[in-house]
C-alpha cells in the first residue's frame, strides 16, 4: 500500500474530496430548513462515494467499487429520498425551530471542533503506512460535527440526520485511510446503518401520530 500525499494526483483528489465533505457537514450545520439538511446530506454521500471510488481505483480493489456503488445508491439516493418522503413531506416539516444555540454560535462551535480535530489527530502524529493520513483529522471533524448537530438540535429528524452525518465521517475514515479495512466489517456497518435508519424512521412517524408538533427536547423525566 503506497502512501498518498498531496503531491500525487490520487492523494490530491482524495484530500480535496474530503474537504468538500467537511464543508457539506458545515453547510448542514449552518442551515435551518429540513429540506436543506437532506440536500446537504445527499451531497455529502455522493462525495463520499467519489472518495470510495477514488480509493478503489488507486487500490484496484473490486470490493471497494462495490462499496462506492452502495454508498451512492443507498446514502446518496435511497435514504435522503425516503426521509424526504416519509418525514419532511408527510409531517410537513419546514423550518427547524428546535435549535438550542444560534446559528452563528453553532458554526463557531463547529469550527472550533474542526480545529480540535486537527490538533488532536494531526497527520504527523499518526503511524505511517496510511493511505492518506491528511484525511484523518477531516474525518474526525466530520464525526464531531455530526455529534454537535445531534446535541444542539432538539428535533428528532434533525438528530437523525446528525447521526447519518456522523456515520459518513466514520466511513470517510474507514474507506480512504485504510483501503484494506475488512470488507465484511464495512458491509456490516452499512447494514446496521440501514436498520437503524428504518427503526428511527418508524419511531419518528409513530411519535408524530401522537404528539404534534413533533419537537422532542425533553431531557430525562424523573419521578
Amino acid at each position: 500500500m503506497q502512501e498518498l500525499t498531496l503531491a500525487s494526483p490520487g492523494g490530491a483528489v482524495l484530500s480535496l474530496d474530503a474537504v468538500l465533505i467537511l464543508l457539506s457537514a458545515l453547510a448542514c450545520l449552518g442551515s435551518k430548513l429540513f429540506d436543506r439538511y437532506l440536500t446537504y446530506y445527499a451531497l455529502q454521500s455522493v462525495l463520499l462515494a467519489v472518495a470510495a471510488a477514488t480509493a478503489a481505483y488507486l487500490e484496484g480493489d473490486p470490493a471497494l467499487w462495490v462499496l462506492a456503488g452502495l454508498t451512492l445508491v443507498l446514502k446518496g439516493w435511497a435514504i435522503p429520498a425516503a426521509a424526504r418522503h416519509w418525514l419532511v413531506q408527510r409531517l410537513d416539516l419546514k423550518r427547524d425551530s428546535g435549535i438550542t444555540t444560534g446559528l452563528s454560535l453553532t458554526l463557531v462551535l463547529g469550527t472550533a471542533l474542526c480545529a480540535f480535530a486537527y490538533l488532536a489527530v494531526s497527520p504527523e502524529r499518526l503511524a505511517h503506512g496510511l493511505l492518506a493520513a491528511s484525511v484523518v483529522p477531516i474525518s474526525t471533524a466530520v464525526v464531531l460535527l455530526g455529534a454537535l448537530a445531534m446535541v444542539v438540535r432538539r428535533h428528532m429528524v434533525a438528530q437523525l440526520i446528525g447521526w447519518l452525518i456522523m456515520e459518513n465521517g466514520v466511513f470517510l475514515g474507514a474507506i480512504t485511510l485504510t483501503a484494506s479495512f475488512p470488507l465484511i466489517v464495512e458491509v456490516g456497518i452499512f447494514f446496521d446503518l440501514l436498520a437503524g435508519f428504518l427503526i428511527m424512521l418508524a419511531m419518528t412517524t409513530g411519535l408524530a401520530e401522537r404528539i404534534s408538533p413533533l419537537p422532542i427536547g425533553r431531557s430525562g423525566r424523573d419521578s
Binding site: L126, H128, M166, T178, S180, P182, G188, D192
Partner: protein, 492 residues
Amino acid sequence: MVWLPVLVAALPLVGSAFAALSGRTGWAAAATAASAAASLLLAVVVATVTITGAPLASAGAFVYVDGLGGFFLVTVAAVVLLASLGSASYLAVEERSGQLSVRRVRIYFGAFGLFAAAMLAAVETANLGLLFILVEAATLASVVLVPIEGRTEGLEAGWRYVIISSLGITVALVGALFLFYSASALPGSAEAHLAWPFLLAHAHQLAPTALRLGFLLGVVGYGTKVGLAPMHTWLPDAHAEAPAPASAMLSGALLNVGMYAIIRLLAIANRGLGSQYGGRTMLIFGFLSVLVGVVFMIRRRDFKRLFAYSSVEHMGIIAVGLGFGGVLGIYGALLHSLNHSLGKTILFLSGGSVALAYGTRRTDRLGGVVGAMPWTGALLLGAALAILGAPPFGLFISEFTIVRAGLAGDQPWLVALLLALLAVAFLAFIRTVGGMLLGAPRGVHREPYRGSREHLLAVGPSVVGLLALLGLGLWIPSWLNSLLAHSVALVR
C-alpha cells in the same frame, strides 16, 4: 470446534423464526425458552473448552472465544434464559388483558431472539469492527422492545435510547479505527490489525497517540452502552419503560456486553500504555457513575427507575474494580458483573409481576406486597438485599474483593469514599423498597397469573436466580474460579 460458539449465538434465532412464522404466541414463547436453555448449555460447554485448551478461533479471529469471552458468554446466556422464561408468563398476561395485540407479542419475541443472538455473538468475536456491528445490532433489536407496550413515554424513551446509544457507539467505532491505525505500521493482515489477540500481543509496538485515542474513544463509546456517567442519561428511561423481562435483558445482559468491550480495550491499554493510564480512566468514570447512581436513587418513587439507577451504580462499582486493577480488582469486577446480572434479573422479573398485579410502578401507591404476593414479595426482598451487597449473597463477596483490591493500592481513601456511597445507596434503596414490600397494605391487588404453569414461569426463574446468588455467596465452584482466573490473566 468453531461451529459450537456460532451455534450458541444462532440458537435464539429459533425463537425469532417461530414468532415470524406462526401466529401461536405460545409456541414462540416456548421456542424462545427452549432455545435459550440449549444455548446456555452449549455456552457452558464452550466456556469449559476455553479453560482447558486454546481459544476457539476462526481465521481472522472473526469468531474467537477465550476464557474472558466464555465467562461473559455464560453470563449473558444465563440472563437470556431467565428472561425468556419470564417473558412467557409476562407476555401471556399482557396478551390476555388486551394490553398487547398478538402482532405485538410476535414482534416482541422476534426482536427478543435477535437481541439475544446479537449479544451472544458480540462476546464471541475478537474483531473490533464486528464487535461494533453486533453491539449496534443488539441495540437496534432491543430498541424495538422498549416502546412495545405502546405508551407515548415508551416511544420517547426508545428514541432517546436509540439516538444516544447510536451516537455513543459510533464514537466507539471511531476508537476502533484509531486502534486500527495504531497497528498499521506493523506487519500482518488487515483482519489482524482489527483483531484483539494481535493488538494485545503487539500492544507495546502500537503507536501510543493513536492507541490512547482509540482507548478513550472506546471507553466513552461503549461506556454509553454500559451507562457510565455522564453518558447514562438514556438508561433509566429505557429500563423503566421496557416490559419487565426486556428490562432484565437490558440491565442484566446488554450492560455486561458493553463492559466486556471496555475490558478488552483496557487489556490492550494496560499492556501498551501501562496500567496507570487505563486504571485511572476507569476510576474516574467508575466513581462518577457510583455517585450519580446513588444520588438519583434517593427518593426515587418509580421502582423500575430505582433499579435502573442501581444498575448505573453497579456498573460504576465494576469500573472501580477494574480501575483498582491487580488480580483482586479484576477478579472482583468480573465476579461482580455476574452477580449483578443475576440480582438485577430477579429484581426486574419480580418487579414486573408486581407492576402487572397492581397496575402501577409508583412505590408511594404500593404497600404490603409481601402479604398479597408472598413468593414475589419474598423474592424481591431477597434480591434487594442481595443487590445491596448484604451477606450471604454473591454481591457481598465481589464487593468485598473489590474493596480489598482498593486497600492493597496506594489510595485507600478511595475505598472509604466507595463504602460511604454504598451505605447511602443501601439506605435509599431499602427505604423505598422496604416500604413497598413490608409497609401497610396499599393499592389494589389483582392476581395477574392464571394456572399453576404461569405461576411457575413467573416465580421459577427468580427462585433459581436467587439460589444461584446465594450459592455464589457461599462458595465459588472451581469451574467458575478457573474461568475467572483465566480471564484475569488475559486482562492484567
